[in-house]
């Protein structure tokens, strides 16, 4: 029986507390995962392009969880750059943010986000959301082959 490879999820989130909450919620899930966390859009770009701090290498993520509300290069700018890049645009990006403003939702989908989730208010809520994300993206959906 083939061994299921762990998923690589790249979390782009500047808030330390939220980073921890998401990490804890994912840890409690059944699907094995490698959670990589970057604290800014710029760092995220370095990660994906395997440069700067990540010159020595970084795994290609199966899914990117992206916060919109970040200083410097904001979430939308990061999303635009990823979707404009020939090699990176295939990676599904799910927005995970505090905002539920229509403007943000519309802009995100226009920039080709694959999903938009509002950050839950409770820990239980977070766990439930993470479970559903995993179930959808890694149980239901087919994964992009690793070599792409």
């Amino acid at each position: 029986m083939a061994k299921l490879e762990p998923l690589t999820i790249l979390l782009v989130e500047d808030d330390l507390a939220d980073q921890k909450l998401i990490k804890i919620s994912l840890r409690r899930q059944k699907v094995a995962n490698d959670l990589c966390i970057v604290s800014s859009g710029e760092e995220g770009m370095d990660f994906l392009h395997r440069r700067g701090d990540y010159k020595s290498g970084a795994p290609r993520p199966d899914l990117i969880l992206l916060d919109l509300n970040m200083p410097g290069m904001g979430g939308k700018e990061f999303l635009r750059r990823v979707k404009n890049d020939e090699h990176l645009k295939k990676i599904p990006v799910v927005i995970l943010t505090t905002s539920d403003a229509e403007r943000d939702i519309v802009d995100s989908y226009k920039l080709q986000a694959s999903g938009y989730v509002s950050k839950p208010v409770t820990l239980a809520g977070f766990e439930e959301v993470m479970e559903k994300i995993e179930e959808y993206w890694f149980v239901l959906c087919k994964r992009l082959p690793k070599e792409c």
Binding site: A17, L21, I24, T98, S99, A101, K119, V121, T122, L123, A124, F126
Partner: protein
């Protein structure tokens, strides 16, 4: 001896006499005859005369009638003329003008020959006179001031002798402008211009009112846009308040919960209780902020009004939003007669009924399955009154007004869930639709929540 001679003479004489007598008789007979004939003729003539006389009498009566009629019509005409605030006038041409003549010729002749034959006081006043009579016999050229832009003769000719409600102005010596609406119609018979009749209406008041309306309209636009701006600011504030406040709150409750979990068994009862109070407080605050956002959105997140079918709304609530609650409580919703439609914000109608019906299900009497009845009827002033009746715990009269206050709860949180914003939201929605809301209730016997909404919209943009 001549005896016969004398006898012959007498005889002759008597013969002559006889002849004469016979002639006389004949003459008399002829005279009688003639006389009779004459009498007959006289008789006939008399009869003819009598008939002619009768006819004349008849004619006189008819003419009198016609005169009466004419008097009436004339009187009516004068009443119309006198009573009219608008200027009315009639003019004739001393000699009618051939309209196939060249333009310039017609214009000249119009100037020479036109005379006013009738005008009412309103016209007279426009020219500085008191009574219409004073204008009779005058020509327009005698009356008009230079600078008046009433229709010119040339204009009349070119418009085929008919001008309908054309707006003109007149400026007086002090620069005040008067606006007139001028109508003039020429009477043409066999290609000859015979007369004119005209109507002049002073529309200065109207023009002023139109200008004022324009100004008011512009002011309204300004107020409207300011309102839109203030609304947006309010919305931004509500949004910012709720979201930015939720951020740190989320940290408190999430990490509070994590602490509770990780410290399970390591804290004494007292410490556990303290931690519990803290986390619960945080959670409650989150809900209240959410509720505040919902409440403020009633007026900031507005959608245009439309015809809303309340039967559909109830069906939706039954199958979606209230499905679980109906199931859990074993309750049901009765609609004895199809509900009337209302004019309003569709999603707010959902919110309104969801809150009221949901309350009816929630506040049930112990062990008695909740039964909700929804009815509507039209009220006099084109509104619809909706009644949501339940068989729940009821509400004491002293609280009938308070319950609509924000965050007002009548029971403890353990007994019935909810922050107490539902009814405040309902009240705000109803008021936004220019309606009213109220309760009829007896504790232990259930409550009837009633509210009024508009039946139909007015046909103008909302």
């Amino acid at each position: 001896m001549r005896v016969t001679g004398a006898r012959d003479e007498v005889g002759q004489l008597s013969r002559v006499f006889d002849d004469m007598t016979a002639n006389l008789k004949k003459s008399r007979e002829e005279l009688e005859e003639y006389s009779k004939g004459l009498e007959r003729m006289v008789g006939e003539r008399a009869a003819e005369l009598a008939r002619a006389n009768e006819q004349l009498q008849q004619n006189i009566i008819e003419r009198k009638k016609a005169e009466e009629e004419l008097k009436k019509v004339t009187a009516r005409h004068h009443r119309l003329m006198d009573g009219s605030i608008d200027g009315v006038w009639f003019s004739v041409f001393e000699e009618s003008i051939d309209i196939t003549l060249p333009e310039a010729e017609i214009v000249r002749l119009m100037g020479e020959r036109e005379i006013i034959v009738e005008a009412n006081d309103a016209v007279a006043k426009m020219y500085g006179f008191d009574e219409g009579r004073q204008l009779v016999g005058k020509r327009w050229t005698e009356l008009q001031y230079p600078g008046d832009n009433l229709p010119s003769s040339l204009e009349l000719v070119r418009s085929h002798y008919k001008i309908d409600r054309s707006v003109r102005t007149e400026k007086d010596s002090m620069g005040n402008i008067t606006y007139y609406e001028e109508t003039e119609v020429g009477n043409i018979v066999d290609n000859k211009l015979v007369s004119f009749f005209g109507l002049t209406r002073d529309i200065t008041e109207r023009k002023k009112a139109e200008e004022e309306r324009e100004t008011l309209f512009e002011e309204l636009q300004v107020v409207n846009s300011k309102l839109g701006q203030s609304n947006k600011e309010l919305q931004d504030f509500a949004y910012v308040a709720s979201h930015d406040l939720q951020e740190p709150l989320r940290k408190i409750t999430s990490f509070g919960t994590l602490l509770q979990d990780s410290l399970e068994g390591k804290l004494d009862e007292d410490q556990q209780e303290n931690l519990g109070f803290m986390v619960d407080g945080g959670k409650r605050m989150q809900t209240m902020i959410d509720d505040l956002l919902t409440y403020s959105r009633v007026t900031t997140r507005v959608r245009s009004f439309q015809q809303v079918d309340l039967n559909e709304v109830i069906e939706d609530l039954k199958s979606v939003e209230l499905a679980t609650l109906l199931d859990e409580t074993g309750g049901c919703i009765h609609i004895p007669e199809p509900l009337l439609s209302v004019w309003g914000d569709s999603s707010q109608m959902h919110q309104l009924l969801q809150n009221l019906v949901g309350n009816g299900l929630k506040f049930q009497r112990e062990k008695i399955p909740p039964e909700i009845t929804v009815q509507t009827h039209q009220t006099g002033d084109n509104m619809v009154r909706v009644e949501v009746q339940d068989n729940g715990i009821g509400i004491a009269e002293e609280y009938h007004e308070q319950v609509f206050t924000m965050f007002k709860r009548l029971h403890s949180r353990e007994r019935y869930k909810g922050t107490g914003i539902g009814l405040a939201v309902c009240k705000k929605i109803v008021e936004r639709h220019t309606g009213d809301i109220g309760i009829k209730s007896t504790p232990g016997e259930g409550s009837t929540f009633w509210f009024t909404l508009p039946r139909e919209g007015r046909s103008r943009k909302n």
